[in-house]
Point group: C5
Amino acid sequence: MKFIEKEKIEFKNPIIIEAFPGTGLVGSIAGFQIIKELKLKYLGYFEIDRIPPLTTVEEGIPYPPVRAYANENLIVLFSDVIIPPFKINELAEFIVETFSNKNPKLFVSLGGIIAGKSEKVYGIANKENLIEDLKNYVEIFDFGVVGGMSGNLLVKCGDKGFDAIGLLAETVGVRPDPRGGANLLDVLNKMFNLNVNVEKLIKEAEAIENKLKELAEQHLKMMSKSRKEYPMYI
Amino acid sequence: MKFIEKEKIEFKNPIIIEAFPGTGLVGSIAGFQIIKELKLKYLGYFEIDRIPPLTTVEEGIPYPPVRAYANENLIVLFSDVIIPPFKINELAEFIVETFSNKNPKLFVSLGGIIAGKSEKVYGIANKENLIEDLKNYVEIFDFGVVGGMSGNLLVKCGDKGFDAIGLLAETVGVRPDPRGGANLLDVLNKMFNLNVNVEKLIKEAEAIENKLKELAEQHLKMMSKSRKEYPMYI
Amino acid sequence: MKFIEKEKIEFKNPIIIEAFPGTGLVGSIAGFQIIKELKLKYLGYFEIDRIPPLTTVEEGIPYPPVRAYANENLIVLFSDVIIPPFKINELAEFIVETFSNKNPKLFVSLGGIIAGKSEKVYGIANKENLIEDLKNYVEIFDFGVVGGMSGNLLVKCGDKGFDAIGLLAETVGVRPDPRGGANLLDVLNKMFNLNVNVEKLIKEAEAIENKLKELAEQHLKMMSKSRKEYPMYI
Amino acid sequence: MKFIEKEKIEFKNPIIIEAFPGTGLVGSIAGFQIIKELKLKYLGYFEIDRIPPLTTVEEGIPYPPVRAYANENLIVLFSDVIIPPFKINELAEFIVETFSNKNPKLFVSLGGIIAGKSEKVYGIANKENLIEDLKNYVEIFDFGVVGGMSGNLLVKCGDKGFDAIGLLAETVGVRPDPRGGANLLDVLNKMFNLNVNVEKLIKEAEAIENKLKELAEQHLKMMSKSRKEYPMYI
Amino acid sequence: MKFIEKEKIEFKNPIIIEAFPGTGLVGSIAGFQIIKELKLKYLGYFEIDRIPPLTTVEEGIPYPPVRAYANENLIVLFSDVIIPPFKINELAEFIVETFSNKNPKLFVSLGGIIAGKSEKVYGIANKENLIEDLKNYVEIFDFGVVGGMSGNLLVKCGDKGFDAIGLLAETVGVRPDPRGGANLLDVLNKMFNLNVNVEKLIKEAEAIENKLKELAEQHLKMMSKSRKEYPMYI
């Protein structure tokens, strides 16, 4: 696992927001909107074994699928592909290690919980004083299982002495839920004065969702078809 | 494999109880009750390859799935997830190694045997004098195959010169059997004067069982659905 | 991964064209024609784990499946077999490393995009000034996912400071599309004055395609049959 | 791969009998009877990757599945579980290495050949003079394929300069065949004056066979059921 | 991968014939006949990962499945089992390395090509002057894919500076084709004055083929049955 840093930024105790894809895509949707609205710069990319060999092209330039965007106060981790479950522990540890020398103020992990509706956002944290603070913004997630990156990143941050919180939006189901993403953004706006337009997100998220789904389907078709028809040659 | 110790405790020849999930969940049920009733502290967690990336949240704080709780006389090893069969040998050896420097008095492994009923508790041990002692509390398991952690942990303890016993409760079947867990707790109470309320266990175990099963099902749904619908992109 | 160099050539800032098989075989078709028409020499071959143990015989001499051909101004990377998807990241990095000491002027990656027709060629690049230049020849691929070697090679070239562009021809589908290959060749001719006969390509590509498909089928039959009938002995 | 030696024995050029499970269980049946009748001591156990985490309990004490028993003249290698086919080469080599410092007189490998009847015992050896000697006791196995440990152990012994023979009993089929086991014991009695009661074996072997099969089935049920019902939790 | 040399032979620029099993078993059939007729000595065996743990017994002595036989002028590589496809590259390289210190005059690889008939033998080589020479004996294989060991061995020999040719006999299909084996032997007789009786081969090859197929089937039955019926025990 490597992080290839492409841009040198003078960080000022940045907040690091993990917005990898998960339930309802809520973290990705919120992260995407922050990156675009705050015009964050492309900071670099993660090289991870077993990630499919895709790149996302923007204005003619290809980018690897797992990337970081940043300004001097904020780093957002974003991915076009799902992180393979058995890479999550290692990646969580690697993220803490990679960004620990940027003097991060706080790690924030975004995620979703299937609830049949998109109303509340729940909070988790790796220290009791952070829990107290979170109560000003969200309801605490009292008891239950949290899968994916959120819980693991908080544990690894705790092991290295970094403060970390998780924000878990309710989602209608596993399908992309722009409303849940907007709810996450609402909380982030209040907590860190990000001032990102939330209403815009809902409209754009649906457009982006459609676009990406279409491309993903096209790509899947490409790969699976070519294999079946020409297993040895091409 | 690593053990990340989060709390420094001055141990006084502790007894180490292995209560990982197995047949009828009897070890987990008994271990859970001991942890709660004796208000054991969170000692730390095991990092094990190929364990699913889940965390269990309690009062807003996420914990990794394979953990140890302790007071100065007692260490209880507990897991929210089944230990993969081919990790058991290595983990048994790692447990002995990890806790050997705490001057443990005795290792106790808890397990279950399907018997169509939940009456007896059987004992095994890694030395003949321990067998004699066990006869005061339980019937000796005379001949047969013991799967999972119990037998292996006793063997590895024996190799390093540590005393170890196993307590195997009869269970109705593979489903969680609070009665079998209570029977284990009865024996542990008598052996080590733990003074843990057994009747309370039976009521609570059922509640916990339901709660955890529900969360597990929800999580499984989450992971399998998201993979099917968005195999490449989220 | 190794590159076994069989011919010593005095390179003069060569252009390196990656023409591995992909959608519509367009890269392979264009690359094959360049190798033949410009009478490039066999430069050497790549040794890659998990590539099927095939060789291609030409005039009685067997060649490994993943090869490079060259003259002093041009290196073409060609493969008789599909590169396994999870080798692509590593191979992209290895290619840049292997040829970086030849003072390459530019890396060019050839690929295809399913479009239901074979008209346009799209361009991508790893630097903005290259995008500007590309606009003189092709339309820029504005936004989307690019799978396979193309995107990855551009990223890895960028990491090492090398200029790299990708040319992506529209293809009717995944099946070999000589028209798409010809369109790539048209652009390459204009860009680098290669002066390769494009019309000839279309006729020959179909013949080659048929020949290779037939051989591939014969080989597949050989391997799968012998396994089923004599699984232990022969 | 490790051998953990639990008992120090002063060996006097011992004969090493490999009695791992195979066709018709004939080696295991003969080996088991020798261990019991000659009251061999538990010498130690093999630690082998990918062996299922089972232990066999005798009189309350758990033992790992692949073990050695011995007196000063004899070492018997016994296993409760089948050795995975792709571990056999490595284990054969490891056995020769492990016991080479005990100055072994001879290695003897026990096995079975499906013949539809349980009459003859065939012999193989790794030297021609041993073949001559074997002709006094058994018919030589003239030509054919021998699977499993027998052939491999002879080859590895030969490579290290140790004498080794294999005794292959006819078996009715793959099911446990006490008659075939008794035939092996007959030959071993004659060759090495072991004086083990053969008739007793036949009666006891059936009882043991039933007992072990029952336990094995119970265990299999345990493991497969628990996985299906609680794949994540328990 | 290892080669265990069992016999010290003073080689005089030997020809090394690779006769591993392949299409139509033609190489194995020809190699077997050369070994028997020229009474070659058992030179040693190859130890290769993932090869099934079989041995072939001849006159009571077990031999590993991948072996070499030799006299001072000739080394024949023979195998009772198919070489796993993904071991072929590594084995080809290992063969060249292993025998390079015997000052080999020439490597000869034997193989088959399905043609619906058994008439011609085609030739390939790793140098142009060898191609010229081959034309005196066989037709040159002009263009196509050659799978398995033949092509790879020629490439690896070429990389190390050794001369190597391949002889590819037409075969009726994938089934053993003694006629194709005889045709190979005819060419080898002419090329190297081996003076091996070809007519004898055809009669014997059929007998051997039947014998080996029968044993292979018996063995397969043994292994697959025992696994199904006693997956844990025996």
